[in-house]
Amino acid sequence: MNVRLYIAQRLTAAVMVPLVAVHLAVIVYATRHGLSAADMLSRTRGSLAWALFYGIFVVAAAIHAPIGIRTVLAEWSPVRGRGADLIATGIGLLLLALGLRAVAAVVLP
């Protein structure tokens, strides 16, 4: 792993520590009486705070996960070098696109 990717993965990890902790708390809280779309969307729709929270979360995860996958590919599969870079980049872009679409779906009024 090169230094830039190493730093990017650690920085996004540090950013996500509080985000994942809050996410876990919300998961347990939101499912206490069964998860309902109405409850969930009433919490998130039109909320700038949740838009920022999940927006930052998605961007950080879309950077963090592909760097890990690239390392796993390089160490555990025959795919490495340029091939691993391409697959990781593709996964990162997919996560970013699907993730931002999901954020838009739950926060836009």
């Binding site: 520590v17 994942v20 902790a21 998961i27 499912t31 779309a37 890990g68 996560l95 679409r101 838009a104």
Partner: protein
């Protein structure tokens, strides 16, 4: 010879590294499905609601419990690594890794009890 080469695999911190890697991999595979499901809300509250009704099934709740455990154990395992890399070394890493797994199991258990 082979036994000696694989001896490190009995080390608890090797297991912690493996759990961190596998949990990260599983979460990365789950994320596109998670995002797709949330994206159903673009089609209105009813679309998401119909999907969430399916998640009431017990086997889905069990799978979700597994995911909660994976997320918690990846968070706490990752936090341990960040502390090792950025702060002064402290002893008791095996105990901390065990504690991370225990707390994650407790969080997953609380989720399961709440969700059922």
């Amino acid at each position: 010879m082979k036994g000696a080469r694989l001896q490190h695999r009995t080390n608890l911190l090797w297991l912690a590294a493996l759990v961190h890697r596998l949990s990260g991999l599983a979460l990365a595979i789950f994320l596109p499905l998670h995002f797709w499901a949330l994206g159903l809300a673009l089609g209105g509250e009813a679309s998401l609601g119909n999907f969430l009704r399916w998640t009431d099934a017990w086997f889905v709740k069990l799978s979700e419990t597994g995911l909660v455990f994976l997320l918690a154990v990846h968070l706490l395992g990752g936090l341990r690594l960040l502390v090792i890399e950025n702060l002064a070394w402290r002893d008791g890493q095996k105990q901390l890794a065990t504690l991370a797994a225990a707390i994650s199991a407790a969080i997953a258990f609380v989720f399961l009890v709440q969700a059922l």
